[in-house]
């Protein structure tokens, strides 16, 4: 389960980079890119806490 969540998190980060690159290459509108980035952000913050270790402070 943790591994699956980790893969989803990493995919979210990939989307975060691919969407603006598509804008740069003129394959995507900036407004669409913003939606993708927001979706990636939500997915990252929902999934990452389950597998990222809590470090002692």
């Amino acid at each position: 389960m943790k591994q699956a969540l980790m893969i989803i998190s990493i995919l979210a980060l990939v989307v975060l980079l691919v969407a603006p690159t598509a804008v740069f290459l003129q394959k995507m509108e900036l407004s669409t890119c913003k939606h993708w980035m927001f979706a990636a952000t939500v997915i990252w913050f929902v999934t990452a806490p389950f597998w990222m270790k809590r470090k002692a402070q």
């Binding site: 980060l13 975060l16 980079l17 969407a19 603006p20 690159t21 804008v23 740069f24 003129q26 900036l30 890119c33 913003k34 939606h35 980035m37 927001f38 990636a40 952000t41 990252w44 913050f45 990452a48 806490p49 990222m52 809590r54 470090k55 002692a56 402070q57």
Partner: protein
């Protein structure tokens, strides 16, 4: 820029190894340091620094090459000045200072550090406030504003400041955890903003980048009311913006956990992600705003990030400001509590948060962030020179290392005078010789190094003679 983190230390606050060397079996490898530096140096203030370079009229060459060289010098400072002493002694900065300077002088250092932390946190609160104000159409402070420009600004700052202070006083662990989770995402949002900004400036291929960057981003012409920055300004700023941490030796507390001194090179992750890529990306966002309306010179990270990244941009600005202001206020509280251990941690942290919030109300703090960051490093730098000279040159000059500890004094006047006189001479260099604040730390370090040895020669001799007489 950012403050040093305790994450890599992996010890409870006020916990182990504060007054003893870190044992070999507790040392950490490259991954810990790379992760920590990459995360810590992509902070809310990066959203301000990149645009302020644009406002100060740097050229594309100044930024691209100046940052490359300046960040390299910073990495080398961590690697060859700070990390070797940290690995050799494996003590915190404070304990090492106590041994050299005495407990009373360390209290003074704590006070200076705490106050500076408060204002640094204030700048971060102001960054977050620019994002909080967007849904309310709040007028953003201007580049040359000194005082609050609206009631809305004060309310936004107090809302952010109150949340950050309360969380710092109550739940530091949770925010630290959120900061860890946000770090990789935040670095990529900076990069994403930079990439998505390129077509808005008319850059459609990497080949276009330099020519358009010169024409539309780093034009070499400052915004009205701003001084002209050159290659040297950029290089020295990049080198010295974390002066307190490397040459000032604050990160002794971090690298005492390093297996080898060469792990100082891990700081490159923070420098080239946070202080190169993020500053450039933030500069591009500001250039879009200026190209759309040359009269709109306000450096407001919230609206800039919103324009390119939408809601993600706003979240990034808020989290970047919040997650870095939070530990900064917490550390300010710790620094003040170090002076009076009986004070309640909660009350001291809340007081530090209030000072930070009051500071954030004044846009001058964040609009003059470059000057403040340079001042912050300069004030703490002489203590780094003292530690360096004490470690490497005490024996060579016939001096006693860790003099305060050995002679049981609480205030080493040689160290104290070195600190005060160095700062006084730096002020004189600034006022009389017109040397800008960004360049003062270099001569200042040599002044401090010389003064410490010269004053110690006199002071240690006089104490020894007095001791013999009594």
């Amino acid at each position: 820029m950012a403050e040093d983190a305790e994450t890599v230390q992996n010890e409870p606050a006020g916990g182990e190894f504060e007054r003893e060397p870190v044992p070999e079996n507790q040392t950490k490898g490259w991954r810990s340091f790379i992760g920590m530096y990459a995360g810590e140096h992509a902070a809310g203030t990066e959203f301000m620094i990149g645009p302020l370079f644009v406002a100060h009229g740097v050229s594309a060459f100044d930024v691209l090459v100046g940052l490359l060289v300046g960040n390299l010098l910073a990495v080398l400072s961590w690697t060859f000045l700070c990390a070797p002493i940290a690995v050799k002694k494996r003590l915190t900065l404070y304990f090492q200072l106590e041994k050299i300077c005495g407990v009373r002088l360390v209290e003074l250092y704590n006070l200076a550090n705490g106050v500076l932390f408060c204002f640094l946190a204030g700048a971060m609160i102001a960054v977050s406030a620019t994002a909080v104000g967007i849904p309310f159409n709040m007028p953003m402070p201007g580049l040359n504003d000194m005082y609050p420009n609206s009631v809305g600004w004060i309310l936004a700052v107090f809302a952010v400041g109150a949340v950050i202070s309360i969380v710092a006083a109550y739940g530091y662990d949770t925010v630290a955890h959120i900061a860890n989770i946000a770090a990789p995402w935040m670095v990529l949002v900076f990069l994403a903003c930079g990439v998505a900004a390129l077509p808005e400036l008319g850059i459609h291929s990497l080949g276009d980048f330099y020519a358009i960057a010169q024409e539309k981003v780093w034009t070499g012409v400052p915004v009205e009311g701003q001084s002209q920055f050159t290659f040297l300004h950029v290089m020295f700023f990049a080198w010295f913006c974390n002066l307190a941490m490397h040459i000032g030796m604050s990160d002794l507390s971090i690298f005492r956990f390093a297996k080898k001194a060469r792990m100082g090179l891990a700081s490159a992750a923070g420098m080239y992600l946070g202080h190169y890529m993020a500053w450039i990306a933030a500069g591009l966002l500001y250039a879009i705003q200026l190209n759309a309306d040359p009269t709109d010179t306000a450096v407001a990270p919230g609206p800039m990030a919103w324009k390119i990244a939408g809601a993600t941009g706003i979240i990034c600005v808020i989290i970047a400001g919040w997650t870095t202001a939070n530990p900064t206020i917490y550390r300010a509280g710790l620094a003040f509590q170090g002076i009076r251990p009986k004070w309640s941690r909660f009350k001291v942290t809340m007081a530090a948060g209030l000072v930070a919030t009051l500071g954030a109300c004044f846009p001058a703090l964040v609009m003059k962030l470059l000057d403040f960051v340079a001042l912050y490093g300069l004030i703490l730098m002489p203590m780094g020179a003292i530690i360096f000279m004490d470690h490497y040159f005490s024996a060579k000059f016939g001096l006693q290392e860790y003099y305060a500890e050995k002679s049981r004094i609480v205030f080493n006047w040689a160290a104290g005078l070195t600190w005060f006189v160095t700062l006084a001479l730096c002020v004189a260099l600034n006022k009389i010789a017109n040397i800008e604040i960004f360049f003062l730390a270099l001569p200042g370090w040599f002044i401090a190094a010389f003064l410490y040895i010269a004053l110690s020669k006199v002071y240690q001799k006089s104490i020894t003679v007095q001791g013999a007489v009594s």
